[in-house]
Structures are given as structure tokens and as C-alpha cells.
Symmetry: C2
Subunit: 493 residues, 2 copies
């Protein structure tokens, strides 16, 4: 098992790319910007999906499925929406291939041209709101609380595995409500669901905030978001929840008969997280030895490796391992017994470290004699001898897994705290951004001009206006104009 | 609740279309041939997915994800494969929209033309085998046992909800093996997994068989299938499993170092089932009152409806219902208490009948006095009074659900038996096909010419050569040439 991972301190970006490939998470495909999610990477995504899906259902949502293709005219119906997505749309223009007459191979049949071009969905607001028009007649049909798990395509020029790919997997919730208030509550609720998922399952502390006008979703009146801090001091937007006002209802003429007998446009929200979360998970916790996975999302939580020279030793170890495995599975711990005879223990240690298995148990003949096992923690790279008689193994392992989950979260939280700095002058802003990075908490005058100017000069953007922003009189770090509270700036993925 | 379903006996096709829409399963979208799967329909598909996914994992497969787009040149690498799919490919040619200079709206940007056109995957053999080339070096890397849940697009001219749509959802397994034997065993195993799923969960008896050469998957050496019989006497192919030989390995140069030090092409399989299964489920069991769902796939297994006039009655009923609901949920039965005060009981009865809820419980004030409930079975439309003191409600309901599952299966099996006829002359063949339909078990001379001729004359195709075909000397029902066993003919969806 040759890991050969670059060090984070030397080349964070290369470290990330190599880790994604070497840990069997994903790889680039032959199609520009499209990735292949490999089985191990996909099994982590499946665990994310399962938890998110449960949370969506617990908050009253149902899944449905809408078409991959969107007629070009639909995309154009909401002005700022098409403005936001037109530059990155994959367009289907034909529906048939044929053999070239000169025998040169298969070509697109020019006679099979579509009357209207179809866009491969970059997001589904337009096709869904065109459907909602028929689903909503009266207040009795509301709210509509629908989610979709799907692939979407945005033609990105610079792509990176998981973080920015032409095709990605995501879920997109689309809800319709009778009142503005209800839609606002839903928008906030789903941001909170995302934050809870990030913190409880991904062990990823996030700032809950609101996007500035220029960072809003194309077609939204308000965008809430969760923002996380990566180990290189760059921020990553991990999920967004949009209050759409009546914009899509108006674009697609979705009205409902109110209880009082009136006719009104409905109010909408949409919200999504994507395979980008995989990138966040990797970049937040992993180290120079490989992945570090929070136990709640690890496909394998415990790997057991036998250490032996002779066949009889192996048999005796295996017998003990079978006992332990049964105990652990009984309490829902996922265990793998790596009994391959094609690889040495040291090779296996390195491989499971690379793949982020939270706990590794090693058992040799001496352990059998002494009634012990060696337990190694992936996150801290620490080992301990454990006496099997001292405590039921299932209790021991469960409590260690809990401890790891908490500990990974705390570490990330401490890091973020350390990487969040209040700055009060433009020189300080520039200096800190260059030397340390992280979140810069600074006053801003509230204008897009200043925001754009700061972005042009430093590449830092306003990640969000934190929802827990304190009222505090101050002056804009760039323009010197008055401000009533601090916002978070950072360079971002 | 106005059902207004057409009768099967009068217009089976219209009955199907209307049922799919009225039971909130799916509807046509604005994009030709693409459907919207509505939340209720999707929840049935989710149950199917969960069971199939479990079965795939139990047989050692992992999920992964491959790109939506396939470079045109890839599709062309396997000659018979491109031949089979070229006529129905959606083609992406551009990657950007822009505002027309004459202000007429948004147009496809002619400058954003792709160097090589991309095909929206109609199936993923080519993109997956191009990936496998890098995943397989030695016999140690085999077998590769991968499945993908995805959407695919085939540009169909005549579409019908679930049965034939331009975009559909499916799973596609793609495996690679060191030996021919292993790949053949896998092909058969997955056909058996499909058959078991169809019979145990969908309550749908299927014939396990082999496709004739002309009905094989484009690029396969052998195609196994499961075939089901619908209520109108037409057959429906419910799943296929392909032995690909070394065709795709050769097209994409996928070789492996053998244990013995040689270098050989790997052997492949692929297998898939799709949202078409939803069509089969609906058409096999449902009746003129609506859906009939097997309990194992019903999103709601039991609906409870209160019958009351006064508010106090409702409260007392609700208290009893809460007890019953808790008991049922404890044993894993999914229950819905339909306590809406906006609709009358009769309306609710009809709605849940339409939606195929297997059991309906009604409780009124007299039931409370007598300690009874009324239980109605959807499949038989029969009712019984049940004394709550006579047996724990969870036992009663569980056993009724089991009984329904078995009974729906038996009914479908009896129907199929009745609709399978041995025919021995061409006149008999034509007459039976017209008057009765169903499977015609007949001798065939084994040639594609005869097969095509029969298809031209009668629209009947050879659905399969049953795997349990008996050796029996005979003469071809059409050509009179010798034959060694019977095959199944039918008109099919």
C-alpha cells in the first residue's frame, strides 16, 4: 500500500485531488468535468442521502421525480433565473444518430433536429413550477412539500472532483405555500435541517447566515446558507435554502383560491445540497495519512486485522474475531474483518488509514493469551491495549465511536474559532486574508459596489450575514461608511 | 371523490392511462415523452428500490455512479451496440445559451459548440467499460460487481406512462469477471434475483427464459429475461440480464493478468429493471375500482377511517384509533389515520380504494360500544366485523396482509395459467391470439426468418425460450420444420 499523499502544508490542492483518487472516492471520467463516483465514495454518499432523506420526511416532505429536460422557453420564463444559468447550459438539439454516407462512422442525423431545444436541467424550478400550475387550485392543495434526488448539469469551465463538476448529484426541495410567512418559515427550517445534518453527522460546524443580494440564487428573494471552514482557511458553502417569493408562481401563473374566496399567487421555496458535501467532508477532517471519517458516515466503522505467522494462529484469531464481530453487529456497529492473505498487516493498516476507517482492531497470538486487543483511533492516530474482560466490547467500541464523532467536531470547531478574526481596518483585512485566511468578521456598508470592489481586490467574498449577527455600530472596513453589524468575508471554494 | 375510471373490459388502454393519473402515480410533462412521477407513485418506486438494493447488496454488489453523458465515439465502439441505440439518442451539441442580438429572446450560442457531441446515456455499458479499463489490471481486481441507480434517455416515438417513456429511472448492474463461467453464473443469478423480487414483492408470477437472437440486447451474447402476463392477455418484459461475453472488453480493451501469468479479456454482464415495473405492477393486479397493491409494496398498508356525527364521538374514536395505530406500528405495519374533516367517509373509501390501500378499517360509535371494527380488503372488496377482544389487532392485521400478498399472487398465477395455451397448428395460433391472447406455447423452427414472419403476420413475438423448456419433438407451428421444444409467443408491451 503505497500512499504517497502530498502533505497538506505543502500543496493542499494537490493533497485533496490525490486523496480523492487514492482513497477510491471518485475520479475524472472521459467526459470533461464529469466524475465517476467509485463504490467507496458512493457508499459514503448513500449514508448522507439516507440521513437527509429521513430528515426531509420527518419534516413532512415526499419525494417525486421531474424530467431531466427543460424546454428552452421554460428556462426563459423567469428573467433573473435564465440570466443566472444561461451561460452554463448543456443543450440537446437532436434525437438520433445515423451512419455517415461516406462511411466515416456515426454522425448526428441532421434531419432529427428538435423543434425546440431542450436544456439538461441545471436546477428544476422551471419544470417543477410548470407542473405545480396543475397541482394547485385551492388552499386545500397547499402546502406542496416535495423533494427530488437527481443529477443536474452546469457546464463549468474549471472543475474539481466533488467540489465543482459539470454533472453532480443532489437533492432539490421545492415547496409551495399559501402565505409568505409559511414559505419563510420553511426556508429557515430547511437551512436548519442542513445545519443539523452537517453538525451532527458530518461533524462539521457551520455558520448559518443570509447571502447578500449579489450572492443570491438566480430567481430568489432571499437565500439562506450554511458556511463551513476548510483546513486551508477557505470557506465552503455547504447548502442553501431559498425564499422564492412569488417569482416562479408569477412566471408560471400558479394561483390558488384562498379560503376567503380570493385568487392569489402562491409562495415558494427551494433548497439543495449536493455531492459537494463529499468535498467538504474530506477537506474538513482528513490529514496527511488520508481520510478521517466521522463514525456516523463511515461505511465501515471498525476494521479488524489478524496478526499471525502460522495457520493455526490464524484459525484461533478468527474464532475470537467472529465473537467480537457478532457482539459489535448486535449493537449496529459496521465491522469488516480484513482476513486477506494477499497483504501484510502493515499494508492493511495503511490502507484503512487512507480510507478513514474510524477504529482499527489488531489481534495477535499474544493478545489471545492475554485476553487483550489493540484498538487504534484513526482521528488521533493513538493506540490502546484493551482487556476484553474489563468491559463488554460493544460498549467499549460504541463509546469510542461516540467519542470520535464528538472529538472530530470539536477539533473542527476549535479550528474555525481560531480561523475567525474580527478585523477593523482595510490594512488588517488584506494582511490577515493573505497570511492567515479564514473568516474575517468585518463591517460592511451594505452596498454591492463595495462588495464587488473587495472581491476584485482580494478575491474575498461575503460568505454570509450571520443569522446571529449582533447589532454593533461601526464603519465599513473598506469604504468607511456606517454599518450596523459585522458580516463574514472569506476566500471560498 | 369522483373516480370515473373506464372499465377494463371496455378500454383496457384508457383504463390504464386514467388509473395512473387519477391514483396520483404519474403524469405527462411538458417535455414530449418525459413523465413526472408524483409523490404517491414515487413512494411505491422507493419501496421497490429499497428491496432490490438490499438484494443486490446481499449478492455482493456495490453502488457507484457514472456520467450521464457519453462521447459519441464511445457509443460507436461496440458495433451492434451503436446499431441498437443510434436511432433513439438525445444528443447534446452546445453548452451555452445567450440573448439573441435582435432581442427576440434566449437562443443557443452558436459559438459554444462542442468538439465532440455527447449522447445522453441510453444505457451505460460504454462509459462504464471505458472506466473498467483502468480499474482492472490483474485477476485480483476481479470480479467487479457494480450497480448504478440512474436516469436514462431513449428517444421513443410512442410513449406511455411508465411502460415506455423517453426518460426513465432504472438500475443497471455492470459486472466484470475472470472467466466465462463466472459471468454466466452472474447473468443467471441476477435474472433469479429479479424473478424473486417480482414474485415475492410484486406478487407477479414470471416466466424465466432466454431471448431469441433477434430479441437480444444490442451487444450481448445472451439475454435472459423474466416475462409477465397482464390482464389484457399481453405479455410484459419485466427485467433482463445479459451475458456480454468479451464484447465490451474487446471494444474498450479491458484485459487482466491471469493467475497463470497470461493476459486475457475479461467477461461481462449487465442487467436492469426500470420504472416500467410500475406499469407491470399496475396492470397485473388492479381493477375497475382502482389500484390493487401487494402489501409488501404499499406505501400505506392500512388506512383507518372514523365514522361519526358528533365531535365527542370523534374524540372517543380517535382515542381508540391511537391505541390500534400504536399496536400496528409496533409490528412494522404502516398505518394512516384519515381524520380529515373536509371529506365524508364514502369519499375517503373511494379514494383509498383508488389508491390501492390493502386494508381499510372503519370505526363508528357502535363499534366502540361493541368492541369491534370493520375491516375491508381492497383486493377482494370484502368486509368483516372483527372483535378486538378475540385476537391482538397486530396479529390479525399482519396475517391478513400476508394473506392478501399470497392471494394476489395466486390470482395472477391462476390467470397466467389460464392464459397459457399449447397450440399445434397455424390456424389455432392465429385464432387463439386474436380471441384470447395470452402466452401461446408453440413449436418454432429456430430461425429468425420464421420469427420475423410470424411477427409481421400477427404482431406476436417470441417472448422467451423458457429455461424449463421440456425436450419435445414437434414441428414449427408456422413453417412445419422440425423443433425440439416449445417457446412462448405473445403480443407484448
Amino acid at each position: 500500500m503505497s500512499k504517497g499523499l502530498p502533505k497538506r502544508s505543502e500543496d493542499y490542492s494537490l493533497w485533496y485531488n490525490e486523496l480523492v483518487k487514492k482513497a477510491d472516492l471518485a475520479e475524472n471520467s472521459a467526459v470533461r468535468g464529469c466524475m465517476v463516483i467509485k463504490p467507496y465514495g458512493y457508499s459514503i454518499w448513500e449514508k448522507m442521502q439516507a440521513e437527509l432523506d429521513r430528515m426531509f420526511k420527518e419534516t413532512g416532505h415526499s419525494n417525486a421525480y421531474f424530467p431531466l429536460f427543460i424546454p428552452k422557453s421554460y428556462l426563459s420564463k423567469e428573467a433573473s433565473h435564465v440570466e443566472g444559468f444561461a451561460k452554463e447550459c448543456a443543450v440537446v438539439t437532436h434525437y438520433r444518430l445515423k451512419n455517415a454516407e461516406d462511411g466515416s462512422g456515426v454522425i448526428v442525423d441532421p434531419e432529427a433536429k428538435l423543434d425546440e431545444e431542450l436544456i439538461v436541467r441545471p436546477t428544476s424550478e422551471t419544470v417543477i413550477w410548470s407542473t405545480y400550475k396543475n397541482w394547485v387550485q385551492s388552499y386545500r392543495d397547499l402546502p406542496l412539500l416535495v423533494n427530488q434526488w437527481a443529477n443536474v448539469v452546469r457546464w463549468e469551465m474549471r472543475t474539481r472532483l466533488f467540489l465543482r463538476t459539470t454533472e453532480f448529484l443532489w437533492q432539490e426541495g421545492h415547496t409551495a405555500h399559501a402565505t409568505k410567512k409559511e414559505a419563510e418559515v420553511e426556508t429557515k427550517q430547511m437551512m436548519n435541517v442542513y445545519a443539523q445534518f452537517a453538525e451532527d453527522f458530518m461533524a462539521l460546524p457551520v455558520v448559518r447566515g443570509r447571502k447578500t443580494e449579489s450572492e443570491r440564487f438566480a430567481g430568489a428573494d432571499d437565500t439562506l446558507c450554511i458556511e463551513a471552514m476548510m483546513q486551508d482557511g477557505k470557506a465552503l458553502q455547504a447548502g442553501t435554502s431559498h425564499f422564492l417569493g412569488q417569482n416562479f408562481a408569477k412566471a408560471f401563473d400558479v394561483k390558488f383560491a384562498t379560503k376567503e374566496g380570493g385568487l392569489e399567487y402562491v409562495w415558494g421555496t427551494s433548497w439543495g445540497v449536493s455531492t459537494r458535501l463529499m468535498g467538504a467532508l474530506i477537506m474538513a477532517h482528513s490529514d496527511d495519512n488520508g481520510l478521517v471519517l466521522p463514525p456516523k458516515l463511515a461505511p465501515i466503522q471498525v476494521v479488524i486485522i489478524p496478526i499471525y505467522r502460522k495457520e493455526e494462529e490464524f484459525d484461533a484469531i478468527t474464532e475470537k474475531v467472529n465473537e467480537i464481530t457478532a457482539e459489535l453487529r448486535k449493537v449496529g456497529v459496521s465491522v469488516k474483518y480484513d482476513n486477506r492473505d494477499t497483504h501484510k498487516p502493515g499494508w492493511k493498516f495503511a490502507e484503512h488509514e487512507l480510507k478513514g476507517v474510524p477504529l482499527r482492531i489488531a489481534i495477535g497470538p499474544r493478545d489471545l493469551e492475554n485476553g487483550t486487543i489493540e484498538i487504534a483511533r484513526r482521528d488521533t492516530l493513538t493506540k490502546e491495549q484493551f482487556e476484553l474482560a474489563s468491559q463488554p466490547i460493544s460498549e467499549k467500541i460504541s463509546s469510542m465511536l461516540d467519542e470520535i464523532q464528538t472529538s472530530i467536531y470539536s477539533k473542527a470547531l476549535n479550528f474555525r474559532t481560531e480561523m475567525t478574526t474580527e478585523v477593523n481596518s482595510w490594512d488588517e483585512f488584506k494582511e490577515l486574508l493573505e497570511e492567515k485566511g479564514g473568516f474575517l468578521s468585518a463591517h460592511w456598508d451594505g452596498t454591492s459596489e463595495t462588495e464587488d470592489k473587495i472581491k476584485d481586490l482580494t478575491k474575498a467574498t461575503i460568505r454570509c450575514i450571520p443569522l446571529d449577527q449582533k447589532e454593533e455600530a461601526g464603519v465599513c472596513v473598506y469604504s468607511g461608511k456606517p454599518s450596523t453589524g459585522r458580516v463574514l468575508f472569506a476566500k471560498a471554494y
